[in-house]
Amino acid sequence: MENIVLLLLPIIAIQFLLLIIALISCIRAEETLGPKWAWMVIIFCISIIGPILYFVIGQRKDTYK
């Protein structure tokens, strides 16, 4: 049993990292494509795919730096 937890630990850690980074970047973003709360729900509820979706199509990057 302990063996299984150790094996799965990296995967859970990466998934958690993705979730946290997507949430932080969503909260700090001035504007997202579509309502922000919807993106937070998507990031939180759909594991792995949710954060990717947010990063690929949710971010609004049309301000010129």
């Binding site: 299984i4 094996l7 799965l8 990296p10 995967i11 990466i14 998934q15 990292l17 993705l18 980074i21 997507a22 970047s25 792995i48 954060p51 990717i52 990063f55 690929v56 971010q59 990057k61 049309d62 301000t63 010129y64 730096k65």
Partner: protein
């Protein structure tokens, strides 16, 4: 060179700001790691699924480490290609649509420098992420299954990397033509799929097509000897990449002249 460095640096800061620097390696790592782990737990998963009739006996042969790594590669081939296309589709389209391209090219910047800085950054990022993930999958395979020799692993890794470079180049190439990122993703995936279909329809030329790269790298894992038609695939892929880059620069030059 100075301009290239400035643009190259800008690409990295932008990737950090979009958090692409974090999520892309994380996703690729997840895709590659899940294959050896799920194969390892497959008997337990089947045992615990309760829709089997009682008394059913399932005997699964334990796959060798080589087979597991080969499976990881083909798993990455389907999901990873889509992820790479998604990550690269916005690169040029976005800058064109928000007008920063116009600002950039009002200065004396050559289109080749611009394209090449983007291409180099994307290639480095993806290859780095893939190499790390493949190394991690190799480590897991060694622990959970049998040992795989390092010499065949790095050869298959290098050969597969060419496919990744090709996909990035194709996506950038389509990006210089179209103005919508959805279209870019669709057409790039269509091109990748049609290469695979073409190799099925016309088996005679299949050894020259880039889709053979996956077969080559899995073959390298299974038997450790050199393949005879390895040169043909490598040549066509490299030539294709260079041709795409050159046409892209030429075409882009036309489209940014106002």
């Amino acid at each position: 060179m100075k301009k290239f460095n400035a643009l190259f640096h800008k690409e990295w800061t932008e990737a950090w700001r979009e958090k692409k620097l974090v999520w892309l390696p994380a996703v690729i790592l997840l895709v590659t790691l899940l294959q050896p782990i799920s194969l390892y737990f497959m008997p337990a998963i089947l045992e615990n699924s309760n829709n089997l009739p009682s008394g059913a006996v399932i005997e699964l042969p334990i796959p060798s480490g080589n087979e597991v790594l080969a499976g990881t590669l083909s798993q990455f081939h389907t999901i990873g290609t889509a992820i790479i296309v998604l990550a690269c589709m916005n690169v040029i389209v976005q800058e064109r649509n928000n007008g920063s391209l116009m600002q950039l090219f009002s200065r004396p910047v050559h289109t080749g420098t611009y394209i090449f800085s983007k291409w180099t950054m994307l290639v480095l990022l993806h290859l780095g992420a893939f190499t790390i993930s493949y190394g991690a999958a190799w480590y897991y395979t060694n622990i959970l299954f049998s040992d795989v020799s390092f010499s065949s692993v790095w050869k298959s890794c290098v050969i597969y990397c060419l496919w990744i470079v090709l996909i990035i180049t194709v996506t950038l190439f389509v990006g210089t033509f179209l103005r919508r990122s959805g279209g870019v993703a669709g057409i790039s995936i269509l091109i990748a799929a049609s290469i695979a279909i073409l190799s099925n329809i016309v088996p005679d030329i299949a050894i020259y097509l880039p889709s053979e790269l996956l077969n080559l790298s899995t073959e390298l894992l299974n038997k450790n000897d050199g393949n005879t038609h390895i040169g043909a695939v490598l040549t066509t892929t490299v030539v294709l990449i260079v041709l795409l880059l050159l046409t892209m620069i030429k075409q882009f030059e036309k489209s940014v002249k106002f």
